[in-house]
Amino acid sequence: MPDRLTGVLRGNLDVTGLGALLVVLLAVYAHYDSELFTPASITILSAQFLPLILAAMAQSTVMLAGGIDLSLGSVLALAMAVFAVRAEDGVLLAGVLALAAAVAAGAANGVLVAYAGLPPIIVTLAASFVWGGVTLVVLPKPGGAVPSGLVNAYNNGWNGIALPFVAIALVLVLWKAVRTTRFGLSLYAVGGNEHGAYASGIATRTVKIGTYAFAGVFIGLAGIGLAIQTGSGDATIGAPYTLNSIAASVLAGVSFFGGVGQMRATVLGALLIGLLTNLLLFTGMSPFYQLIVQGVVLIVAITVKTLATRERTD
């Protein structure tokens, strides 16, 4: 029995390690914030972490297929701007438009990567300027409005239910479903070995376009979440999400070379980064030292993770 247990744990090394780390962080956090496990805190924290979790999931999706998305922050801001500008004429329509914008932007990135044969890092870097510009056209200065009832329900709970938490759970279910489809399997196959996938009859270009477009769904939802959380749109707010989403994905053990990684671990990775930065706010540490600690913890965590993976391939 213990053998089987360690076997399962070893198979999920990333998830187990991150889970353990998360427990430690939560324990320390609870020490500072005794109300951490109350519904109110959970609602607020999940509202706060939702954009990063979804952004990290989008980044992981692209990375699993062997790509990377440096335009993520710009597309997120675009979705946020579209939603905030249109929200007053009907939240549902605004949400659909915002999602459509993000998916279209993702698909465009995918087409460039698949057909122009350019490295994703270059394509998406260039695309980040394009989408950044489009966002400024949509919303030249911070503004727009989201119905205050929705903002309130989202941030402070709706009949005691943490809406952002539910949203994350639903998105994970969506990923689980997609992961087992032909597209989901092809995504891993293309990331793991593109030539092999092509040789075995997978339309690798279509899969790549599909991957970037599908990541657009997550990015769009992240943008909508951020718009509801802040009650407005702001073209400049998205940028930090690009690098943070990569950090969360790498921390979760998603390989830069594609094909390796678990979405569960990505969610934990994003949570860890969010919780850690939050925790440092409670410590009363000088702001510059906070940045140092944040960086050091990330480096140590990634080193640990690399150590563990290296052993597995010995």
């Binding site: 802040t230 407005s232 073209a235």
Partner: protein, 350 residues
């Protein structure tokens, strides 16, 4: 195999311990500093700023810390904590939530977005916290706002440029980053003022960060496209310095350039005044932070404070330039006369 697995576990545990230890170590420091709070109700004050590293912020930070020390010795402030969001507005929201959670009495905020912080700040107000926004303001009317009129900034300097050029000529508009409220508002004001001079044509509208290096590049390319300009509307000190530096380096005609109290620009202005260079500059005074602090302390103590405190913009002209420029200080500083306490009291309605 099990050996390797447990090594990973040990490493993870070590990392966890590191996090915990760092956090706890600092915790004891924090308790130490809040011990001297005094017996009367000493306030727990926090300042969340979108940036802390630019020199303007550093100067503001220093000025505020000095004033906090005064208020601490009066027993009015118990503890003071600065939070740096490092350009990340989402992080700033997290900071405000953390301050609500930790039951701060006063939250000061220099906002990264004029709209995105509103829900968090309004929640703080509902929780009974005194919230004062200064410098880069939020749009919420539930918080006290201490600032300057950014539109007036653009209007005042734009009007001067129009008059200086006698109502006709070609100019380059040199603005801050696109999509940022301060930059957009200053330009709005300038456009209004310049509309009154139909003879003035805008040859190019250039955007740049408020930093010398990117500004110099942005201006150089715009200037090479229209070298026959008669003036520059610039809305930031580093931008003005970049523009003037380009003209001086290329030995071109020193056309009027509007500006700000960025010392590097003031020094260059002073050096080239004899050669006919002229400007009207203004300033985003660092003492906005001090006024915000004083207003918050007064309000938390039960006094009535106006909900919008607009601080007049200083005017730096060819005549009073000498009072501002500081030859012995670095370029990257913002010389300003301190505001007497009586003036501050008047502004916050004491």
């Amino acid at each position: 195999m099990i050996g390797r697995f447990s090594r990973a576990v040990v490493a993870t545990a070590a990392l966890g311990a590191l996090t915990a230890a760092t956090a706890c170590g600092v915790n004891s420091d924090d308790k130490g500093s809040s011990g001297d709070a005094g017996k009367s109700k000493a306030l727990k004050v926090g300042w969340s700023t979108i940036y802390l590293t630019p020199s303007w912020m550093q100067q503001t930070d220093k000025m505020m810390k000095a004033d906090v020390d005064k208020l601490k010795s009066d027993g009015k402030i118990g503890s003071y904590q600065v939070f740096n969001a490092n350009g990340d507005t989402s992080q700033q929201i997290a900071q405000i939530r953390a301050m609500i959670q930790q039951k701060y009495d006063v939250i000061l905020v220099d906002a990264g977005s004029s709209t995105a912080l509103n829900p968090a700040l309004e929640q703080a107000v509902t929780a009974g916290i005194t919230v004062v926004s200064f410098d880069s303001l939020v749009t919420s009317e539930k918080v006290v706002r201490v600032g300057t009129d950014q539109k007036e900034w653009g209007r005042m300097t734009g009007q001067w440029l129009g008059e200086k050029l006698g109502g006709k000529g070609k100019i380059i508009a040199f603005n801050g980053p696109a999509g940022v409220a301060v930059s957009e508002e200053r330009w709005q004001g300038a456009e209004e003022a310049l509309k009154k001079f139909p003879g003035i044509k805008i040859a190019a509208n250039v955007h740049s960060e408020y930093n010398l290096a990117p500004a110099a590049q942005a201006f150089a390319s715009a200037y090479s496209a229209s070298p026959d300009i008669d003036g520059v509307f610039s809305q930031g000190g580093a931008l003005s310095a970049a523009a003037l530096q380009t003209l001086v380096k290329q030995k071109k005609k020193l056309v009027p350039i509007t500006g700000e109290n960025y010392n590097g620009f003031l020094k260059m202005w002073n050096d080239n005044k004899a050669k006919g260079f002229s400007s009207l500059s203004t300033a985003q005074p660092n003492y906005l932070g001090v006024i915000a602090l004083r207003a918050a302390v007064a309000k938390a103590g039960g006094a009535t404070v106006p909900s919008s405190i607009m601080v007049p913009l200083p005017k730096i002209t060819d005549d009073n330039l000498g009072e501002y420029v500081k030859a012995d200080q670095p370029d990257d500083s913002y010389p300003i006369q301190e505001l007497p306490q009586a003036e501050i009291d008047k502004l916050i309605g004491k």
